[in-house]
Amino acid sequence: MAEKIYRVNMTDLTSSIEDVPAAWAAHGGRGLTSTIVAAEVIPTCHPLGPNNKLVLAPGLLSGTVAANSGRLSIGAKSPLTGTIKESNAGGTAAQLFARTGVKAMIIEGQPKEDKWYSIAITPDEITITEETELIGRGNFATIEAVEARSEEKRAILTIGPAGEMRMASANVSVKDPDGGLRSNGRGGLGAVMGSKKIKFITVDPKGGKVEIANPDGFREANKTFAKALVDHPVSQALGQYGTNVLVNIVNESGGLPTKNFTLGQFDGHDAISGETMADTITQRGGKIKHNCHPGCVIQCSQVYNDADGNKLTSGFEYESIWAMGADCCVDNLDHIAEADRIMDDIGVDTIETSVAMAVAMEAGVLEFGDGAGVCRILKEEVGKGTSLGRIIGNGTGSVGKAFGMTRVPVVKNQAIPAYDPRAIKGIGITYATSTQGADHTMGYTIATNILNVGGKLDPLTKEGQVELSRNLQIATAAIDSTGMCLFIAFAALDDEKCLPALIDLINARFDLSLTGDDVVNLGKHILKTEREFNMKAGFTSIDDRLPEFFYTEPLPPHNVVFDFSDEEINTFWDF
């Protein structure tokens, strides 16, 4: 199926299916969303106004049988950070977008009337329909109702009440194969979708398939690629314990941010660890392994049941468990799971919201450790949009301002995730320099700083950290363009057959002859495109800094501060 640009204008409720401009043809996923946002969005526009655009793009390999290729990128100017934003997630949408022939979907404008809409995409048609029934509903009820309206196997993307209320932590949720949710979580993209008055989007390929230029070469490359993934021990550990296997190891390293980033270890770590979680899942008849999208050979997701054996949540990730657990001092995994489900349902980023909750705890809104209180505030305040709920729903920085706090862990107003940059210095460089605010996935130095994957670099020394972060951020930008899950990186860092096989897949898909250098140059190009947008939006190198307290408050147990000079951080961009 030929790839096209599917464009929707919400101001006049029109749409068009356009040829792909030559300048966009070689891009996919993050490379494409960032290229389009940089080309078409006025950098100084208000993120929630008519001049922002929401851009959705499957990766270069999405929709094919390539293992782990089901990530969907969504981009826009972020209402949380004010920077360019790309957030990617699994679920079935990337694959079905690609099979529909959608290279990218661009949603622009804003309805003048106070009415809500849904958008349905098929290969030949874009349909905009007024929606009344599901407004105000949570994501789970919305997905159930939308599924009930059609027998076709469609992808469904939704926003919850948080997105409707344009909260800066609102995510876009994507249905997974079992009716669970995966989230394009970071940066408030759900608020952008809400500002355009779109409650949900469906995608139906009508039996369409992705064309492969060289099917034999593709099959061969995929065999090598999938084997590299399956054989890597990290993939196996991810299947058994999920990403939450990290709680104990990060805690042991002294870099597990605890009690709103005042400690590096959490007394309750064992109760919320991946090991305890795996035992609990087994005892309660949940699922240890689960696909977030068909074709994943790692299966890091899982289904976590409550004490009565009923499904409580799925895709229960380390970062969510760390944030609601250690950072809020909640050592009850059931409370964390309940909070995770509520956040999925109202449609907020679990990292942003939980870190915001920890700042609210320090401010005295509720006690540290009050898991039941967290669930109540999420449901009754954030979900209902009370004044307190909107303060929390607008993120960590918003809570810090509202309550006059100084220990507010954000970079470019986005919450710092699950690795303390004082005790794991490489990730501090990533947080500081990322084009999108604090985000561990932008350049995951934890692999080399903590896990001994892709080499070893002592997390407590400064030497080599800028270079490590730079190399990983460049590689990540390229991987994020393929539609590949970032977890292929563990195999790619250690197995010399993995990355060439990935490049072979792209070459066989499009009849190209890309080399490793081309891929590196693609990554550099994407980072520079994103940075240029940010500079036009008013950002400078002074924004590439961590909050002051990381430089002045030593973190136990190592009693270290973040000690990079401004000049040292600035060298990140020397490429």
Binding site: V234, A237, Q240, N248, I249, E252, S253, Q265, Y444, A447
Partner: protein, 77 residues
């Protein structure tokens, strides 16, 4: 020579049929690798070793009151 006391912690599947945490009395000069071998853990499967929350190696000798943590190759993020 007097023996020394250390704490050994195991993680993920290394705990299966072994233990989570164990206080051990060992001879001075015993290395991290000796402990791993004594537990019948394949060195190839070891991903991360830490003494007192700092990364270490198989060759490092343990000292009195050290806490040794042994992890298989794991990842996430």
């Amino acid at each position: 020579m007097a023996r020394i006391n250390v704490t050994v912690k195991l993680f993920a599947y290394f705990r299966e049929n072994r233990f989570k945490i164990s206080e051990q009395e060992i001879a001075p000069g015993t290395t991290v690798g000796d402990i791993v071998d004594s537990l019948d853990i394949d060195r190839e499967e070891v991903g991360v070793l830490m003494i007192n929350s700092r990364h270490t190696t198989f060759e490092t000798p343990l000292e009195e009151a050290n806490v040794l943590a042994i992890f298989p190759v794991v990842g996430g993020g």
